[in-house]
């Protein structure tokens, strides 16, 4: 009996040490977990809305669109993070709002107008930097890593997540309508443009805050992958958002453990774990590849 018990206890402590030890031993691991989880809380629901609006690639586009603002911030006050992030925020907002405006008032769809504006913005940024003859990779300096979060970065991510949650709560109904049936919203209320603008601001806020603290890949990955995975498990918007948040937070935790135990870049590890959740959902969910096929398949057969 006794030796067995000891073995059991030993294996329990090793498991606990494996799962929690890194966070107990190192402050930078605790900061990484808290910061990335806070980002997930704000960015995952935003990702769900982006997905439902068929704008899943907007995050990537906007990560390029912020370049001219970053460059101007750099010209004004040198290699200082706050002006560069603010510049990026303004440039991202201009691109997002202009493309939204074009999509709303012309025949062009939002993905096309966003592509047009982000490419112009990116080219403007490259031109600005070449004007100064500076070969510094500004984006590299702006984009941090999740393992180096200081107090200031943590506070910023916390603020972004709080603002996002409050704004989502306040504008929830308008956002849902605007996202699912914009024509209907336009006929019953004038809140449409406002909701649309609030949403775009939230997208840019989460992206720029996330880029500055932990890099593009982690930020865009954490925004879109949990949302895409959640789509296999739920239909209702509230459930989608909650599931996406849960997948995002668990991905951060497991991803940081993977980065610690397997010596992998932490941003990539977190995104890969979120990707695993997506693949698992794709395979095992009742709505996934092996689940019940929607009616389309029956039509084809017939």
């Amino acid at each position: 009996m006794r030796p067995q018990k000891i073995v059991k206890e030993m294996s329990m402590t090793t498991i606990i040490d494996f799962l929690f030890g890194p966070f107990i031993d190192f402050a930078f691991m605790r900061h990484a977990l808290v910061g990335s989880a806070a980002l997930a809380v704000g960015a995952c629901p935003v990702g769900v809305f982006l997905m439902l609006r068929r704008m899943s690639l907007a995050g990537d586009a906007l990560s390029h669109a912020i370049l001219p603002g970053v460059a101007l911030g750099f010209f004004v006050s040198g290699l200082s993070l706050v002006p560069m992030a603010l510049g990026g925020l303004v440039a991202g907002l201009i691109v997002a709002l202009l493309s939204g405006l074009v999509a709303r008032n012309t025949v062009q769809k939002e993905d096309a107008s966003l592509a047009a504006f982000y490419l112009v913005s990116l080219a403007l940024g490259v031109a600005l930097i070449s004007l100064r003859g500076n070969s510094i990779d500004l984006t590299h300096i702006l984009f941090g890593t999740v393992l180096a979060l200081d107090r200031q970065s943590l506070l910023m991510i916390g603020a972004v997540a709080s603002i996002t949650l409050v704004a989502l709560a306040l504008f929830w109904r308008a956002l849902v309508l605007e996202c699912l049936d914009p024509t209907f919203l336009r006929t019953v209320s004038r809140a449409g443009p406002l909701a649309h603008s609030v949403f775009l601001i939230l997208v840019v806020l989460n992206l720029v805050g996330g880029f500055q603290a932990m890099g593009t890949l982690l930020c865009v990955g954490l925004m879109m992958l949990p949302a895409a995975a959640a789509r296999f498990w739920a239909k209702r918007l509230e459930a989608l958002c909650l599931i996406a948040m849960a997948i995002g937070i668990v991905s951060c935790w497991i991803g940081l453990l993977v980065s610690y135990h397997l010596n992998l870049s932490s941003g990539a590890a977190i995104v890969l774990v979120a990707g695993m959740f997506y693949l698992a959902s794709l395979i095992f969910s009742p709505r996934g590849v092996f689940g019940q096929k929607p009616n389309r398949a029956q039509h084809k057969a017939a």
Partner: protein, 292 residues
Amino acid sequence: MIRTLAFVLALGISSMASAAPLKAVASITIIADMVHEVGGNLVEVQSIVGPNGDAHSYEARPQDSKTLNEAQIVFINGLGLDPWIEKLTTSSGFKGPLVVVTKGIKTHQFDEDGKQVVDPHAWQDLSNGQIYVTNIAQALCKVDAGNCKVFQANATAYSAKLAELDADIKSRFAALPAANRQVITTHDAFGYFAKAYGLHFLAPEGFATEAEPSAAAIAKLVRQIKHDNITALFFENMSDNRVIEAIAAETGVRAGPPLYADALSNPNEPGATYLAMFKYNTDTLLKALAGK
């Protein structure tokens, strides 16, 4: 003494009036600065690798060939630091003397990518710097024998300054407690400095400055800092300082700004001459090592 000086001065002035300055080229800025000190107004020296440049990975420009072609004497460090210059001198048609200024220096080996090679950064010890100066003066004398006395007087005066700074730095580091002498750095250029002034420089284990680090790499470095009683961190070429600052915050050690290793700085920065570079590096190291 005064008579010799007056004679030297007169000689210098007369030759200045009579001939254009000797055209010299050095491979790196540090040697160029020494040549400038020894040659004074009689020598016009240019460095192939510019301020803040990297001699190890230098890629020659067409302009360098022209510079070398017009040179009357070329100074190099040797010891594997600037091998590209030999090819460049041959192809440029340079016919004058190629002077290896490290002749007579006691070298040591260091580990580079797993191989034991001679550490070329000999100038990082001021007593080696004095050997550089002697070699430079001798070589200048061979090319311009008429001004030899000026060169030698300049060299003696400059060497005295180097020796004075050397003694000063030694006494300042000697005052440092033995527990505060461990530094982790990505610079591989400070082997001679560490030996001369009694410091211990360790390389960070398994930590690449270029790629985004993993949690494992940072944890390993944190453990190493705690285990080896490190007092300060000096990382070069980090485009993102936040990782180093996070490590410093985690361990309570200080992270210093980059040191000047292979090249002097621009004139408006604190490491513009060989002497200034040494003063800056010493001050920076001592500031970081002074206390946890």
